[in-house]
Symmetry: none
Subunit: 216 residues, 4 copies
DNA sequence: GATGAATGAGGGTTCATTCAT
DNA sequence: AATGAATGAACCCTCATTCAT
């Protein structure tokens, strides 16, 4: 029950209220189940105002994805010191990731739900965010691999597709763990991040050392 | 495409047609966006017949989840020879998993995307399947850990929560890779499975040897 | 759950089964809320058979009304000895009425519900039955009035409309009491009939003696 | 008749229009046969507006019952001067009752027919109104009985159940007469009320004097 | 005599969206 | 800057009814 008869506020403030309400509603109910009525009421404004500022349900949702994706990516980026080793960068990034998703469950719900929807019109938005994460992971892995390869005189081209596949796997594992951690009481972001490091670092290390697992 | 004035067919056949149409529609459009009209038309029957046989949208969706989950689990189970080593079992299982998901993209979409997105009671159905996979992975990991520990005389208790977390990560990585593989032309199930083995086997091995990664 | 795979029975028997099921269903749920599926299932036959024998929902309902109305009117008529006095005839008729309605609540529900519906297509049926009851009551009252008037030398024409009005009132009171009696545990048909005699006989007697109540 | 593109009106006005249309439609066609489309069209608005204001078909029907019951009870109550004798009160009440039902046939149909036919929760609403009338009648009868008993030194307890039964009979007779009067051209409310007074007053008088009719 | 298979039509309800103020 | 009033379009579901066997 938002305040009724909302007093005139600057557009920026109102927009933030609406987006907050939208993220909460989309996150908890999903895109289709969330109604513009719900969002407007939670924001404490009338529906026409939502349309005036945010244009349409699709646009509103897209804006939510963008805002939450930026917040998450910024949080991760801010945690990373490019001067550190690959291992330290990955650890810092994962810790920031799990911390942020734990602190913004609705925002994360919006993002992760979206990541699981392929049908247009939001596929693009989700793909963009995922691509950024994957690209970042790829950079770290790639950098680490190059270090190692320099030492081991191995072909410096850790195939692009390998990196992409690993990044996908890492991202998927992270998403899955984030959901699991959020739903497991007493589970800290630190534990989740450690679990994922445990899971992935050795394999990544092996790969970087060109010790691939292969069937038979 | 949907023929009008459908010829009389035995109920079992019609039900299968409807479920096929439903899986396709749910998988491609999502639960909410899929309309019973769409499904009926694709199945080539009238809507009332769908209701007569499958009862309601919810029931239909649940039936889809169950059918596809069973098909996937059966495919994986059939691929595993319990006499093999843990490593071989995991490889065979992953290969079967990626093969099946590649061959049944709509069914996999229903399981991985839609079932997660809608709240109860669907999430429960999907969770049941995930739990089976996770349990299987846990068994394999646990067995492998015991082997190793026998050799290394280590404490046989690989903490329950660790196993659960790892299984979550592995399942998430697999889901993510399955989606990625499906969307990447020229990507084979074998490659996806190998990527995931690469990614995970070394880490699992380390863990089984109690060589954990830890911060600092 | 009626028996499945009903064995071949003579049409008359099957029809009675269907009508029994229909009366029960219509009586308990009302015309619109009763579905042909419900009735067919309760009768233990398939729907097409119901249509084959009874033609349509409307026809089925009409047949129910006719059958139940006939049963009620027959029961009342059988209880009346034309040789008795008007008072005794009325008493016997009311007693039979309340007894029958108590013993056939579903049939009575069909009739009384219908009596309260004016919209076509059933108004006619209900009106016909009510007219018969009213006519009978009118006959008794009229006869009694003539007796009395012969003694009192009063205008023998107790206005037609007066009789009709009184009959309406009596019929309404009887309907109301029948519903009340059916819903009041421990209430016997005899008590209900006595209550109505109490209520009406004095007034009828006065009227027959030309002692009318009039305002002021 | 229903204008399209309805002009903007205050909610209160629109609500009254909708309720008017609903009473008319429910009264003439019955609850089940009346469609929300019909009602909306008759009210000259779109269906969603009906839902926005009145919530659901059930709620709308309940609101109709309440409104019409209140109107009827108010009309009767306004006609009664508590200073008058029981006889005069009854006469005034009946006159008001028949006048009101004659002037509002659809409202009366909703109350007397439809509300009875549908099960709970509507029957409850209608029962409430009937109970008020019955209670009022009971009060009048009881008061008159006491007067009489004071004169005749009789046991002042006119059995509760007797009063209830009589009130039921009176109410039923009134309902029946109201329907009859509405369907009989040239029939005035005054005549209907007089008929019922004729029918009932003598009997009530006898009862109050403890002169009961009894069989044999 | 009896039924499994099938549907046209319509009803209640919801929602994103706009208009007039 | 902000909203009360209003709707077109769809969606889920049910039902009386028929066809082919």
């Amino acid at each position: 029950m938002g305040a009724s008869k909302a007093k005139r506020l600057p557009r920026a403030v109102r927009e933030r209220q609406m987006m907050d309400a939208a993220v909460q509603t989309f996150g908890q109910r999903g895109y289709q189940a969330a109604s513009m009525d719900d969002i407007a009421e939670l924001a404490g404004v009338s529906k026409p105002l939502v349309y005036l500022y945010l244009n349409s349900k699709e646009d509103l949702f897209t804006a939510c994805i963008r805002r939450e994706a930026k917040a998450l990516l910024d949080a991760v980026a801010a945690a990373i010191d490019p001067g550190l080793s690959a291992e330290e960068q990955l650890w810092a990034g994962l810790l920031a990731f799990f911390t942020h998703t734990a602190e913004h469950p609705d925002g994360w719900a919006v993002l992760s739900r979206q990541a699981h929807i392929q049908g247009e019109p939001f596929a693009g938005e989700a793909a963009r965010m995922r691509a950024e994460i994957v690209a970042y992971v790829g950079t770290v892995i790639g950098a680490a691999a190059k270090e190692t390869h320099r030492e081991t005189h191995r072909d410096p081209e850790l195939a692009e597709r390998d990196v992409a596949g690993l990044a996908q796997a890492l991202a998927g594992a992270a998403e899955s763990l984030a959901g699991w951690a959020n739903g497991t009481p007493g589970m800290t972001a630190r534990e989740a991040a450690a679990t994922l490091m445990n899971f992935s670092w050795a394999g990544l290390g092996n790969l970087m050392k060109n010790e691939r697992w292969s069937p038979r």
